[in-house]
Structures are given as C-alpha cells and as structure tokens.
Symmetry: D3
Subunit: 314 residues, 6 copies
C-alpha cells in the first residue's frame, strides 16, 4: 500500500492518517472547510476537508486519527491529498498513534539500553549522581525518550532526541581512542545532558510545539537549570568545579558566542571544543540523511545549509 513519502501525483492513497495541524477556514463561496496537515510513518501531506458541519469541526482536532480514501494532486507547486471519502477512526480500528509518526531507525527501547550502558560506564560521583537524579525522574525520562530533537531541523521524529544523544555518546567513545587526554566522564555527561532542557522547551512528542518558557529562555540555559536542580538534590554545590565544567560545555555547545550561533558563552576548554564539533556533525549528517532520496538527480535544497546538497552520491 502507498505511503505519504512514496505516493506519486495522480495515484490513490488509502489508510489511516494523523491530524498534525488543523485550522477552520471560510472559502470564497462562504462554505467552511478544514485545512489539514496529515501524517503517517513516512512523512506529511496537506489536505482539505470540505463542507464541514459543526460536529465535524469539533471532532477533527490535532492528534485525531482519520481514515481517508483520497487521490494525490498537484496544487501550487506541491503535492496535496484530495479527499474522496473520510471518517474519524474508532476504537475498533485499533490504531496505535505511534504507528502514524516518523521514528528513529533503531527502536526507542534499544536506544535506551545503549544509553544505560553509557551511564554505567561513568565513574565520576558528581556526574553519576546528577544523571541518576535526572533520568530517575519518570516525567523527564518519558519526555527525553519520546521527543524529537527539534521540530524541523534534525532528528525531527519520535525519539529523535534520544537517537541524537546515543549517537553522540558513541562518537565520543570512539574518538577517545584518538584523543585519550580528554576527560571521558565530562564528555559523556555532556552528551547525555546537553539537551536535557528540551524536555521543557518542546511540548508533546506527537505534535511537538515550543513552549513559551522555551522561547524565552532557550534550551541551553534550561539544561543548566535542570542540572542545578539535580545537583542540589544530590547534595552538590552548583559552583562545584566539575558541575561548572559540565555547564560550560553545555552553554558553549553551538560554538563561538561572538559568531552569533546561539551559544551563551564561547568554548574555553578542550572538551567544549570537542563537544561542539561532534554535536554539529551529528546534527548535519542526520539532517542530510533525513532528506535522502527525495529528488531525481540526487541534489536537494537544504534549509540547514542554505544551499543544494548532493545527498545521494557515488
């Protein structure tokens, strides 16, 4: 059966789809309709429900699951799903909402196991205690293991944040063989907690949005705040030298502050320099990988790079 990512213009598409965005509009003829962004496991496609009544307007909300029989049309430069028949999914359909969102290739469970092994590898008492406090909190753990790393840019899928963190831990462990003088526990803890604030800046793993607090504070400082809370609970001063080194690596994760990339402070320790490099690399490679196979000639415009990239090559 077709999916959003592989269906061609003119083809029929039948199945269950998740409502990711919806807005009620009035058309030129005075009729109301619902503007939809629909999603399945492979991607998203815009659509419209015409001639909707008040009951339908109330029923079709974000995260509603719809069963649709439609055809793909070309509309102002983009594919759109023209609905022939539609109904709201019911309990008997027995659809798991998670089957309708994009996910990491490795399962969330496997990724969590990988992460556990990294945590067990950390010797430093301070870092160990902070990590246990944070991941021991059920609410934080739930958010951390389901949220995307960002809405659009990279690892923008269910459990994308976890996928990103596990990838960074692996990179660090591999490169420590080349740069053995770097502080392993500081680096791994930075990998694990560098985006922990995203559990407060991104809301909802299925239809993610940025919180007010997230937009006003930024996830770097919010990661620091959560580390401070954990350190305090674990009985360590937030001015402890090792805690400060950890916070420094997190606050400088986007590179030089004077280049305006988003760091709160410029990296001033070798570990901060190292972490910025592998974090940026992982985000970029994931962004390229996420968008592979979408053009005929292998070239595709990437907003992250602001140029055409050759994602499919020799």
């Amino acid at each position: 059966m077709g999916t959003i990512s592989n269906v061609q213009e003119g083809e029929r598409l039948v199945g269950f789809f998740l409502v990711k965005e919806r807005e009620v509009r009035v058309a030129a003829n005075g009729d109301e309709y619902i503007d939809l962004l629909l999603g399945d496991e492979t991607g998203t496609i815009p659509s419209k429900m015409w001639d909707v009544n008040d009951q339908q307007k109330a029923a079709v909300q974000r995260k509603t699951i719809l069963k649709i029989d439609g055809t793909v049309r070309h509309f102002r430069g983009k594919k759109q799903l023209q609905i022939n028949r539609v109904r709201i999914a019911n309990d008997e359909d027995n659809i798991d909402i998670q089957s309708l969102v994009q996910k990491s290739t490795t399962s969330r469970e496997e990724l969590w196991q990988d992460l556990r092994m990294v945590i067990d590898d950390i010797q430093n008492d301070v870092y160990g205690a902070i990590i246990r406090k944070l991941f021991g909190n059920k609410e934080i753990r739930e958010a951390f293991t389901t949220l995307p790393a960002s809405k659009v840019m990279h690892h923008a899928y269910y459990a994308g944040l976890l996928d990103h963190v596990v990838s960074l831990c692996h990179s660090t462990l591999q490169l420590l063989a080349v740069y053995p003088h770097l502080n392993k526990d500081l680096l791994l803890t930075t990998c694990l907690l560098h985006d922990i604030g995203k559990t407060r800046t991104i809301h909802d793993a299925i239809t993610p949005e940025y919180t007010d607090e997230g937009q006003l504070m930024g996830h770097l400082v919010m990661s620091v705040e959560m580390i401070n809370e954990a350190a305090f609970e674990a009985g360590f001063s937030i001015q402890n030298e090792e805690v400060v080194a950890l916070k420094h690596c997190i606050l400088s994760q986007f590179g030089d502050a004077d280049k305006g990339m988003g760091s709160a402070v410029s990296g001033k320790m070798p570990e901060a320099i190292f972490f910025n490099a592998i974090e940026e690399l992982d985000a970029k490679l994931n962004a390229l990988q996420m968008n592979k196979g979408q053009s005929e000639d292998g070239w595709q415009y990437h907003p992250m790079f602001k140029r055409k990239m050759k994602t499919d090559h020799v």
Copy 2:
C-alpha cells in the same frame, strides 16, 4: 598636591599609592626589580622598584600601600613614575585603602539609599521576595555594593556596579512616563538583578579579577542561577511566568543573540528590548565620562567604540 591624573611629565609626585599589580623581573644586568602598577583615587601609573632584596620582594604584594617620592618620566610612549624614595606604609600612616581607589562620584552610601527607595517601590510579590532574599544576604550585598561593573570597560571603579544599577533604575523610572504600557516591576527588577551574577564572576573590589567560574559560565547565566536560588528559597517555582520574564530580560541584555554580542537569547518582549537599550546607553555614556579630559584636542581613542571620540565638546 599632585595626583596621578593631573601630574605632568617632569613633575614630582609624592604620596601614598596602592600596589594594584606587581611582578618580580630580572634586568639585563642581572639585578632583580619589581614591576609595579600604582594607583590613587584618580588613576593608575606604572613604576619600577630597583635593586630589591628578598625581604622587599616578600613585602610588596598586591594591595600593599607604598609611600613614594618620585618624578614622572616619559618611557616608551607613556608616563612612568621614577621612584626616588620609597617605603611601605605602616599603621601610624593611618591610610584607608579605599582612599586610594577610584570611586563613583556619588558615595556608596547614598547610592544604597537610592536603591532602597527603588526596592520599596516594587509592588509585585514574586519580584519583591526574590530581591529581598538576594540583598538580604550579607555577603552578596557586600560584593554588590563595592565591586566595579567591569575591570576596564565601564563603571570600572569601586562601587561601580552599584552606581550602574542605580543609574539604570533612574533611567527606567524616567522613561516609564513616556512608555507607561511597559511593566514597571519587571523593568526595575531587571535593573536591580541584571548583573547580580557579577558578585560571583568578579573577585575583590580593590584589585578585581575574573573568577574561573565567571569565565566559564558568563555573568548572565550566573545571575539567572542566583535568581533561581532566591526564588526557590522564597517558595516560587523557577518556571513561574514572572520569574521566566525576568530571566528572559537578563539573558537578552546584550541585544540580538545572532549578532554575537553576548546575549544567551534574543530579546522577545518589549521590556527586554527596552532594557537592552538603556543598559547599553548607560555603559557607553559612563565609558565616555570616565575618560574625559585626557587629551589636548578633546579627541581620544576609545577601545569600547574602536574609534576616536570627541569627549570634550561644545
């Protein structure tokens, strides 16, 4: 009697001076000497103590007060104090170290009274509680009312930080008459606490230095940390909407983050835009004022502006 700022080349200078920096050196002839930076209430001047013995090397440290009879010479493009006679000040000299450092024009005590009146004017319970927790802490209050706002750039004198904060409060109160729709309590609290982290990033009001933690974290984030501590103690969540607004104004105090001026996040509220403008203005006007009267034609190179400025004019 002459002072450092008004003494001319070739003139004699006699009095008590504070050792602000010192380093032992070996001259070309093999003799040891001490390289000094001396200060009085009006400024600083380099000097050298020749032919020093071990006892002198041990006695002359940072913050030592020296009685000197010397002459001002020209040496590689700058004035230097050539010492004719020198001795270490003793108890009988009865010199108060604070009489040998540059200070704000308004006394520390008056500034503190001004600040108290501003605090009394704040209605908001959350902000009021946080301010009382912080200024109620004797150690913080002591640092806050004696430290400079920076080592070199602006308000670089004893109690300069307090002077800067009081000036910002006055600017805010005056401009609220023009922009009455802005949130007064949020603005005044931002003025009061925007640099509170400097009490942890700058060490020693007499011979100030930046702490390791300060260089690794930056005073913006450290101000936020101190506010969080105070909010927690006062029984407010650090995610409280008003606390978040306050922290936002502080984290964006240097303007747009993507311009690389040092903000942790770009200002996104009118109060943040307002505070950035008056903070930058006060720093610039103070920097120009601090360096007035130092050139013959009224023009002088300013590192903050990276150009010659006309500080004495029509």
Copy 3:
C-alpha cells in the same frame, strides 16, 4: 459596526473604505477586474472589484472613497473582503478622508502643542533660529505634521512622524535628569530635526510613497541639506561649530557606520551616542505596539526583528 482590524472570517463588513492601492488586471476568463487595497481607521484589507467597465476603471483611483457591503473570506492564507455591493462615495456621504486612515493615539493638534513647548524651551540662538526657519515654512510644517515616519516599519500612520518626534523629545527631557552633563539644546534640536528630510523623501500623508530624490539621497543627508538652507537664511555659517554638532548627531542616528545600519558617519560625541539609543528604542517599541493583539497566543513574527516577538504578555 465592524472594522477591518476586528472583523472575523465569514462576517459581513459594511462601511466606507479608502482605496490605498489599485491595479487593473485581466482574469483567466478575459474579464478585467480591479485589485484593491482598502483601508479604514484600523487597518487595511485586500479586495477585488469584478467585471469593471471603463468608467469604473477611470473612477476608482488611489484615494477614492468606496462604500462597500461585503463579506470577509479566507484566500491564500490571508483575509480578503469579498464585495457584494459597492459604489463610489459622493458629497452627500460627507466622509472626511482622514477618518479612513490610521492615526496616532494622541491627536495631531495635541502633539503639535507638545512640540511647541519643547521649541520654546530651547535657549541656544543658533538652534532656535534654524528651528523657527524650518517650522515657520508652511509647506514643511504641513508635511511634517501629517506624514508617517515610514511606510511600514514604525510610526507608519497619519502624523506618525510628529508622534515619533514628540516621543523622542519627552524621552530626552526625562533622561536629562539622569545624564545632566549632556547638551540639552543640541539633543532637543536633534530630536526635532533628525527626520526633517522625510518631508522631502516621503510623498503624500494618505497614500505615502518614497520620492526618487529620497531613494537616491537618503533622509539623513536631506535633513542636513534642509538645516543648511535654514542656517544660511538665518545668517549662520553651515560650518558653525554648533550646526556641525547638530548635523553630526543626525548623520550618525542609525549607529556605527561600519555596521552598515545606514548612518553616514559613526557617532563620535556623547549626544550622538545618546540620540541613536533613544531613537532606535522608540522605533522598536512603536513597531511592537502597532502590531499588538494580532495573534491568539501573543506571539507574532516581526519583520523589524526578524523573529517572533511576544507582544502581549504578563
């Protein structure tokens, strides 16, 4: 009765509207229609007049007043007014065109009184004479008191320029209490005349456009030219020290020239630094204020800031 700013999609809108832009188009079916931008006291909305004949095409021009009975529709992501009935307003309708444009909250007359009081406060003979020459010119005064300060960015409404200038005078008078060492007459004259060139760069207060000369010269240099003309008429040299200081503050009003913000020269006097700060602040706060209340969650993208801003807050 509904207005452009508060009407909702699907609602009816009846009243008089000003034609702010119009263009005759040919539709896909070969019929001609007029593309309109309509305005009332609260804002603007696009519309279309279909099946127009030659007489209508000739009659409906910029500044024509139309009486319309229409319904608001959603069209390509924006509201549009669908016309049910339309006619051109006649003398009996007795509509004042000024009642159909956005205006400053304070009336033009009150603003002018405020300005007069500021002018009376200026002691300096040179500045006083230049101001009287310029505001004594009826044509300049008429333009100065009706034009917007810009077409889109800030104070983009009838008498917006006057509103902006009065606001700057108030800011200056208030802040002089904090910075009494600044030259009051120089600052107030800069406030009054910094945009005087806009009377030659912007044409027509109702449907404003930039003149050719304005685009080729910029309003900074044109303000200087008008000041020179006035100084010459008043018998002062354009190289007079006070005139030069005034022109310097105007030419540097957008901040450092090497940052490419539009200044002709970088500010090199404390007054120039001061004026740049308050001018930029007033423009930003007005831009935020102008766009308040237009989104549900209080966040809105602002072209001036190139990011989403939280204009409605705690």
Copy 4:
C-alpha cells in the same frame, strides 16, 4: 647623496629635512629632548634631538626645516636617524619647503592642465556651472591642487588629491569607449567633485591633519554641501534632477552602505556602480605603487589589504 628612502642602516645621512611631527619629552635621566618625525622628498624617518634648551624647544616646530648630519641606526625594529650635528635652516640656505615633501610623479601644473581639458569637455550646463563655481574659488582651488587624497592610505603626498582625480577622469574617458551608454558628463563631474569636501576635511598640504568638522561630518556629505553651495550660487535648485544624480554618485562612492564601507547611501544608478569600481581600483593600485620596492623578496604587508601583497613581480 643619500635620501631617506634609500639610506641603509649604519650609513651617514646629511641634508635638509622637514619637521613633520614633534613633541617634547622627558627622558629617564630628567633631560628634555624632542621626538621628531623628519621628512624629505622620498619619505620619513624618526629622530631625537637631545639636551634641548628652551630656545630650541620654541624654535623647532612642525614645518621647521633642519639641516642635519646624522647616522642611521636600528632602534626597536625600525630605522632611526641619530643626529650628530643639527641646526635650523636659515634664509641663506634658500630651501623651498616643497622640495622636502613627497609629490606626485606628474607635476601639479601638468595635472592641472589635464584637469582643465576634462572640464572643457563637459557639455552639461548644470554640471559646468557648478564646476566653474567651485574651481573658480581661489581658496578651494589652492587646497584642491596641493592636498593629499588621504594622510596614509593612498595618494598620500603633495597634490595627491589632484593626481587621484585626474587619474579617475582618464579611466572614465577610456572606459566610456566600452560602456558608451553611460552618462559621460555625470561621470566626469563625479570624478572631479567626488572628494571636493576634502578641501575642508584635510588641513595643510605639508603636514596634513583632519579637521574636527571633517571627522564629524565625513568628506562625502561635505562634498555634497559644497556642491549645494555652488549650485545655489549658480542659480540651480539643489533638488534639480541632475544635481541629485551627481550627489547620489558621490554619497555612494564607497559601495554598498549596508556593508559598512562608509557610503551614506547604496549606489542605485549604473553611473554610481561604475564610479565606485574605478575609484576603489585607483586607490588600491596607487597604494600598491606607493609602497613598491621596500622589501627584499617583493612581498610586503599592506594595511589597506590587511595581508602581504606581492608588489614587485614578473
């Protein structure tokens, strides 16, 4: 006989030299001396007059001519002239001060003849009248034909401004054969008057300094002011379309304003784009030419380019 530019370390140098800068200093031993910058037709060299008495201090000023017998020494990375014998030149020495400054290769008189031919070639009445008013003013003509184009950067020698302008006129005339659609009279007038404001921003052709007015206004706007004065005297409006085009080309002479290169407005006409290109090229090629032959390997650091340039090549 040796000259400043060709004398080697260790060699003797005897002759008349012009005092270009001087300052009285006090040495470590308490003696006063005069710090000098001496010049001849080929360049400049620092020197010191030791043990000077009050009479000598009074007599040796900027523009004083000294007869010196000295030896060239190496002092802190630079050549310095060590004076063995010195006296102030007297009338009998019969030294023309102009023989002691660097000059253009073509004589001032020939350059002026070239310029006259260009002026005669201009057909446009408005431009012709403005040019005649300005060059008809004796004071302006005297300054224009003797000043350097800048103190250090390019054409930094006696009559350098005239040399630069003549070179630009020649470039324009040559390139009009390639781009015949450009407005010849507009371009030539721009060449002739683009730096006319420098007659007010630079003071003294022999020991040039920037005036206060020049630093506060910039020579672009001052050129416009002088053109306005001339247009007014000649009976043309300063808003005349041709006058505006001329002023536009002058105000945009340093390229795009938003790149912060110093233009008051960005070039928006083909002639403005053209003039910026040839002006920048002439300045750069002259800067390279001025510094030719000063290093052994043909490579030399250039402040204008901020890198090493290969000025002597294949």
Copy 5:
C-alpha cells in the same frame, strides 16, 4: 508582431516559441497538463497545455518548438500565456532554434573576430601557447562561443560568455593607458581564460544547466585545471612563474577570499586587484542593462544588488 517582452496583459500573442522548461502535472480535477516555460528572442513567459494525451506528453520536451496562438493573462502576480491553439513546429516551418533565444547585441561572429585580434596582440610565449591550445580545441571553442556566462545573473544569454570576455579585453586595453605599469599579457590572458572552466560547468547553450562537476568544483578551479592541461601539452611546467601568476589572477577573481565572495585565494598582485575590479564592474553593468525598461517608473528590484535600482535615468 508582438514579442514576449513587449506584449501587454489582455493582448494576443502568436508565433513560434521554444520550450525552456516543462513538467507534467495533475490538476485538481484529475486531468494531466504540462507546465511550460516558453521563450523567444526577447524573454520568457510561463504557460500551461491542458488536457494533454500521452503522445503530446512524449512530444513536448525541453527544446521542442511550439507554434502558439494565445492571450496574455494575469495570474498570481505575473503574466501568463493562455493557449488558444497550439501545435508542434515541423520541418516546413523552417525555424532556427537560435532565433528563439536571447543573444548578445553584437553577433557571435563579430565577437570572435574581436577576440582573435586580442589573442594576436599577446607577445608572451607561455600565455600564447596556452591560449592556442585551449581555443584550438574545437569542442572548447564551440562551448566558449555559445554558452551564457551564467544562468540568471549576468550575460545570461546565447554567447554571453564570449560577450563578457570581449568586453573585459576592451576594458583592459583601454585602462592600460592609465596604468601602463601593469603586465598587459598577464591581464589579457586572465580576461580570456578566467571563465574557461565554465565550458565544463555549464551544459547546453540553449537550455543551460550546471553540471555535477561544476557544482562540486566551481569554475575557478576548473579553469585552473584546463590551463594546467594546456600548459602541460604545450610543454610548460604548471609551476612556471607566469602560469602561477595567471592562475592566481583567476583564483582571486571574486575579490577577498575572507569576505566569502567565492574566490579560492585573495588577490595579492596588482593585476589580480585590477582584474577583480573590471570583472565585477562588467557583470554588474550587464545585469543592469539586461533588465532595463521593465518598469514604469524606471526603478526595479535586482537580485544581484538585493535592492531596487534606477536603470532608466536622466
């Protein structure tokens, strides 16, 4: 007869047109249509062929010539050609494809003659040999004399590259009269070969596209590669001093490398500085000339300048 550039909205347009781009689409009603970009000697216009069958879809490709009878309509802010009747051109129509593309004003043959004269003027054996090797290659010569200099920016028409190179040779020859110390043969060879790599980076003179290799290498380095091949064949080392100077001027043709304009290295020789200036000037003036006469008031937005330019003026 009407042409694409002079036809007005509502008018009929009849003639032969070249298919420059085409894509098959599915409309909202399920029908297939072909989206077209049509061109003639004066410009391009979008169009749509409705209700196309499989045979038509196969027949209408890039470079197909269509005979169309249509009417110009306004569609989403742009002109569009609404087709009334259409057929594919046949042999009897006897249409030369080159008559349907934009071309340089001077004919390709004349430009080539101009170029030959420049080549004959070069004395230097090394440069002469390299030029002969490259232009002696029939494939290179064919591409060089038919390709545009770029797809959109400047000289974006048939033989535009040749037109650009000839223009640069003329500029150089003219300016050598002003700067006779520059190396004539180096400059002319740089003009001739600076874009020779474009014969490998741009594919097809009629419907030009960038090659994969071109996007991965850039035409600067590819020009250097072709020069190396020619030098090798001609028996000269690629490290030969004159060959290196030539490659330097080509690699630095876009100005300072640290400004990110696209140069591989910053210009470090006077000839490199010179070439960058005339190349940029020629590209800009051509871009302005290409877009002349397209707006009513003479002002038009230019993507190369990122602002409105006044292309039709006094």
Copy 6:
C-alpha cells in the same frame, strides 16, 4: 640540564641551539650585532650576538648550530637569552640538527607505519592508484613526512603534517562505526591527500617558510593539482566521478565558502561535511595541546581562538 621551555628568568642555560632566524643590525653606538631566534627540542627564545665581525656575520646563518653559555633575562615583556660565551658547533660536536627541533610525540617512523596500514586498507582502485603515485614519489614522500602542518597555528613541528594526517585517519576509522553509510575510501583518501599540496607550499622542514607559489595559489588548489597529475599518470580522467568527489572534499575542507574561512567551494556531500568537522577538530585540539602548561593559572591567550583558553583543567 635546562631547556628553552623549562628555564626560568635569571637561570643559566648551556647547550647547543639551532639558529632559526637571524638578521644583522646596527646598534645606537654604531656597533653591529646579530638578532637571533634560537631553538632546541622544546621551543624557541630570542637572543643577540654583540660586537660581531665580518667572519661571524658570514658564518652565522639560518640552520647554523651554536654552542652557547647564557643567562635568561627579562626584556620588554619576554624572556631573552643573554649570551656569555658562544661558538659555532663543529663536526666533533656531532650534533644531529633534528635533535634541535620540536617534533611529534610519536616518531616519524611509527607514524609512517600507521599511514601504510591505512593505505593498505583502501579498496577503491582509483584512489589506490592516485595514493601510490603520490607517496611513491620520493621527493613528495620526504617532504610529506618531515614538514610541519603549518608554521605557527597547529602541528607546527617536525613531521607535524604526517602526525595530523595519521590522526585524521584514526578519527575517520573510529567514526565510521557510528556513521557506516559514509564512503570509507573517499574519506580515508581525503584524509591522506587533503594537505598534499603543502609539500609545495611549505619549504624546508627545519626552518619552514611559505613559497611564492603557495601564497599565490593556496594549498587546497595545489593539492588538487597534484592529485590531477597523479590521476593522469595512473591513467584516470581528472573528470572521473570519484576523482571529482575527492577533490570536492579537499576544496571544501575549511567549511562554508561564503563564510570566508578559506574553502574554494562549500561542502555539498556528507563526506565533505564530515571531513571539515574532524579536520577542524584535530587542528584545534592540537593547538591547545601544543600550548599546554605555559601559564600558572591554566589560562592562556590562543591566537587561533582569539580568546583565553583553559588548557589545564579538572
């Protein structure tokens, strides 16, 4: 025995030293002396040989080995070696010049063995052939295994280039476990050859200098030229897709071209993005490592980062 890096001010230093730079100077008293930069295995120190005769001036050249008995003095803010006794080393001293230069911690021989293993691991025929051609050339191999990677910035020591390349190969092999979809042979070949052009841009492993050709071409393009030569000799087209991919990764090694970091083209393939990240990381970490242990408090200004870095930490 003391070495340059561990000797303290006032201490005696005796041993053999390499002359790295020398220049004959004339002192204020007229005597000639030689300004020296001396080096041993641990670093460099300036010195002066006084009262030198013609024979000494001729004998003491770059790379001369001197035996010196001296004392370390403080001179204008830096250590300097004051010579008590000095003679030129003779054959009997039997000093190997390589024992007097800084070197990689791993021996050149071991590094070469590592590199050989990487080469043997490459499967791709094209890349294998190019690598064998280049490293099979004795002259290239000799330069490649002895030169520093740069004069000052990073890996600035004997065999530093080889050290850098081996480190990059290790990083790549380690990270391929995390990013297995990347092209291993392309990445390893890029590591091996990305700086191969430095064998032509840097001259002399003992006292390295940049060649004229290197400054005019840059090592990126010169690496491409050498790869082209090798591909040609090995019978592959320089337009071969795999050769182009390799050259692309090399030309984009410094990141985005439009940021002006020195790349000839922006990276457009995942492998180019990857290589830029690990190359920059290795350079930065090495720069930090090279300068470790030189300050008391662990903080030190780094020209590469343009800020103080904390190189010695928790």
